[in-house]
Symmetry: C2
Subunit: 356 residues, 2 copies
Amino acid sequence: MEQVTVDELDDLARGAAILGTGGGGDPYIGRLLAAAAVRRHGPVRLTALDELPPDAVVLPVAMMGAPTVMLEKLPSVEQVAVTARTLAAHLGRTPTHVACAEAGGVNSVIPVAAAAHLGLPLVDADGMGRAFPEIQMVLPSLYGIRATPMAIADEKGNRAVLDTTDNHWAERLARSVTVDMGCAAAISTYAMTGAQAREALVPGTLSLCAELGGLVRTARAAHADPVAVVVERLRGRRLFTGKVVDVSRRTVTGFARGEARLAGTDGDGGAELVLRFQNEYLVAERDGVIRASVPDLICALDRESGDAVTTEALRYGQRLTVFAAPADPRWHTEAGLALAGPRYFGYDIDPVRVHA
Amino acid sequence: MEQVTVDELDDLARGAAILGTGGGGDPYIGRLLAAAAVRRHGPVRLTALDELPPDAVVLPVAMMGAPTVMLEKLPSVEQVAVTARTLAAHLGRTPTHVACAEAGGVNSVIPVAAAAHLGLPLVDADGMGRAFPEIQMVLPSLYGIRATPMAIADEKGNRAVLDTTDNHWAERLARSVTVDMGCAAAISTYAMTGAQAREALVPGTLSLCAELGGLVRTARAAHADPVAVVVERLRGRRLFTGKVVDVSRRTVTGFARGEARLAGTDGDGGAELVLRFQNEYLVAERDGVIRASVPDLICALDRESGDAVTTEALRYGQRLTVFAAPADPRWHTEAGLALAGPRYFGYDIDPVRVHA
């Protein structure tokens, strides 16, 4: 994919919701923002990761906070652009490219809006290959790239530039500021050179999102099984098909935490799946046995439409197919697991991989 | 007073503790820092407020957080200097003067240390004429001077620059960051020109602190009553002499809140005084009748030595004399009371003035 036009945005948002593994916010909100920005400023050029000049000045942008809140307090493209401008001014550098910090949900689409608004190309890549809930949980952390200086802004005009001793401190301070700002804020973080980006980011993310969205759309039109094509494309494994019978969630310290219970249908009749989440789906447990866990992707799709169901959209009675797909292998290194393995999230288990 | 040498620091700290009205942190910690800095860098020149050039670039510095924490986690002069340098870099201005945001406690002495360290003169003034617990509670707020951009730093190397829509938002974000930083952080805020400072600050604060400290020292040496000379110099009124019989305090949302009960002695035998505080003493209630309240100063001094007793140093059995003294008259305007009157602190009363 060489550019993002309004036509691509539907597929892109649909695919982004899948890679969002239940988190990253509702991509349809981001799609609206991106569509408005692209209509106004024209299509956004995509730069492939391996075509990025080594001296490029890359500014990732994202929304931070509880997706549940973003449904009610919509982000604005100006708010996101402000963070990029604030960070660029602080750095005294002129940005050449916008990038995605995470794949998935609103954070795959918000950077499209920001790139259009700022008149900059967007790097076809992201920092995770999926969505994760905390700032330090990006592959650039494994390469010693600093989250700070980072800029954070709300929709009211409040801004901050943080400069911390490590990326966990960036998460800690930014999370408190986000909570103060109303549990949703725009951030620009992990400013990096093109050379750093080529090493540390996951290539092709936006193209993959658009491709996944297109596969779902095509399968649906052909009355084929959209979930099957997504699972195949991501080299994943179907875990469960069932009906949501219970959801509990609470918004704490800026996160949407909780769990959902599914009663099996189709071939899974009589079985139960528990999905535990903190913004994203983190652990899938079938009849008491953990079948998949972070850092691998756990995705819940509407059984019929193939649309991803985010954790904040989970409702009683939904019929879902849950599958797992392998994460970028760097997440399975010791350093990767220390950042985003199950133990970091409070589960005292070894990671359960899709293809162990 | 034209300069602050090591010799002046004892008097200055002793007087600052009095104007601190129980808050502002322990000035003896600040005095140690200031003494070390003055020994190393030489005396700090004082600039009288009416001699400040209109185009001066004035950077107030202070410690923010719970004084109870500052007793254990000592501030460092580097940490304070970092905030001034960070703010100056953000503004793109070269500071010409350091100033005190508040009179009282550690925040009268910390700016001496910072000025010595930075090699800058210190303005003989402050933003309150006393101590108050929140950032927006300074007279510059009444003149439309912005608390932000402000810099905040901890002792570990974490920093932030905040830029908010108003001074209440500055307080809100900085408070959360302070809590994250361990309930005590250095700040540089209310950057202003010399012309703004001459209008908005309270003149002569540091000289007054040194004078008060000297009066106490002299009275003590002469076996006179140190409390009486302080009350007279501040045109105040003695409220109560008694023994502390109960103290309750809790550190919540970055503040030290609580109350102390005193059983009367001397002429006050049989009576009881309740002192309510939030970092500073806010309300003095004698036998159920409020005798003084913010914005006027309520001070508790050791009955014998005349040394101020901060709210975090209150202990069972202390024998104290409590007095009230009039605040800068600008605090008694409608706008001043909205910022720091009793109702702001949650007491549904009209302010009780020392000389009504």
